[in-house]
């Protein structure tokens, strides 16, 4: 099996170039295993991010044959011919398959992705009903892998767009019965939910079935209602 890997060595390459590597065509190997094989036995200079190897950490997202994928969950047996591995689209390339994630982290912090509380500290834990948990659980499955950003043409064309994962995580806290924060100003802006043109590819790319497109469209409805009904609060 041939792995056609995008290489970018700062100071050496003016732009990324492809380099072919032959790897054993093993049934139980994911793309990440093949990349690790290259790094360990063929070319130690190849750079890429990875950690858990089980679809939890969200580190190993790359563009595989044109599609944003977690390379730990994409197997060699899924392909017949040469497999092209490139960095995630929509992000600057630091080296080889490593992209600059700072813009994503900056967007993420804008939506205060944590429980916001006001008033006195609670005396005991906050109990939630199964229904209250179910309201936000789906969005809490996001692993920040950025595949949705790479699949989103709006983000790739306009990096100021808050992006699918950040908005889905904002909704994760908006819909949490324990949260008292108000993210309206950030979300209901041109760079927020209104920047989304509903291509829907973020949902297709998501390996954890978070469905960011749904989160964005739902908040559009909330934002529209709040704009029309000024007395309504965030749980409207």
């Amino acid at each position: 099996m041939i792995l056609r890997v995008s290489r970018y060595r700062p100071g050496v390459d003016a732009e990324p170039v492809f380099q072919d590597y032959e790897v054993p065509d093993r049934d139980d190997w994911a793309i990440l295993d093949a990349l690790n094989h290259i790094k360990d036995t063929v070319d130690g200079t190849l750079s890429f991010r990875w950690s858990c190897r089980m679809g939890i950490c969200g580190s190993c997202g790359m563009t595989v044959n044109g599609e944003p994928k977690l390379t730990c969950g994409t197997f060699l047996t899924d392909f017949t011919g040469p497999v092209t591995v490139e960095p995630l689209r929509g992000f600057a390339v630091i080296r080889d398959l490593v992209v600059d994630i700072d813009p994503f982290l900056a967007n993420l912090s804008k939506v205060t992705p944590w429980l916001v509380r006001e008033g006195e500290e609670p005396a005991s834990e906050f109990a939630q009903t199964p229904e209250q948990l179910e309201a936000y659980k789906q969005y809490s499955m996001c692993i920040n892998c950025m595949l949705c950003y790479s699949a989103c043409p709006v983000y790739v064309l306009n990096p100021d767009f808050l992006g699918p994962a950040a908005i889905a995580l904002a909704q994760r806290y908006n819909l949490d019965s324990r949260d008292m924060g108000d993210r309206f100003d950030v979300l209901s802006s041109e760079e927020g939910v209104w920047g989304c043109t509903f291509v829907g590819e973020c949902t297709s790319a998501c390996p954890k079935h978070v469905d960011p497109a749904e989160a964005i469209q739902r908040y559009k409805l909330t934002a529209a209602l709040r704009s029309v009904l000024p007395f309504s609060r965030r749980r409207s």
Partner: protein, 122 residues
């Protein structure tokens, strides 16, 4: 030092889903045209100028435009209604109404309104 790829001006040709999205957005122009056509029809009706309107509407280029508009608006309506469950999460006593029921409800309402309009006009 990092590398930022140049803007891809043909991004919508790279994936089928992008192309379908762009087509759906472009069909909005025909939705706008259909609205204008309807306003012109109502204006002619109010002015008692329907014969002149039908003469104009029967010219080949208007006929051709409306045939294309019908296809485009149908495509727009179908794709729009199919996307509706993404924005409409309905829970009934904790049970989430499945997407196909929301889509089915939309299409049923569309057919019912169309049938009502046909019945009124007939």
């Amino acid at each position: 030092m990092s590398y930022s790829p140049p803007r891809d001006r043909l991004w919508f040709l790279r994936r089928r889903a992008y192309l379908v999205f762009v087509l759906r957005e472009l069909t909005s122009l025909f939705v706008a045209w259909s609205a204008v056509y309807l306003i012109l029809l109502l204006d002619a009706f109010a002015d008692g100028a329907l014969p002149a309107f039908w003469d104009w509407a029967g010219t080949p280029w208007v006929l051709a435009l409306n045939v294309v508009a019908l296809a485009a608006v149908t495509f727009h309506a179908v794709t729009f209604l199919n996307l509706a469950p993404k924005a409409t999460v309905i829970r009934l006593d904790g049970w989430r109404v499945p997407d196909f029921m929301i889509v089915g409800g939309n299409f049923s309402a569309w057919l019912a309104v169309s049938a009502l309009i046909l019945w009124v006009l007939w």
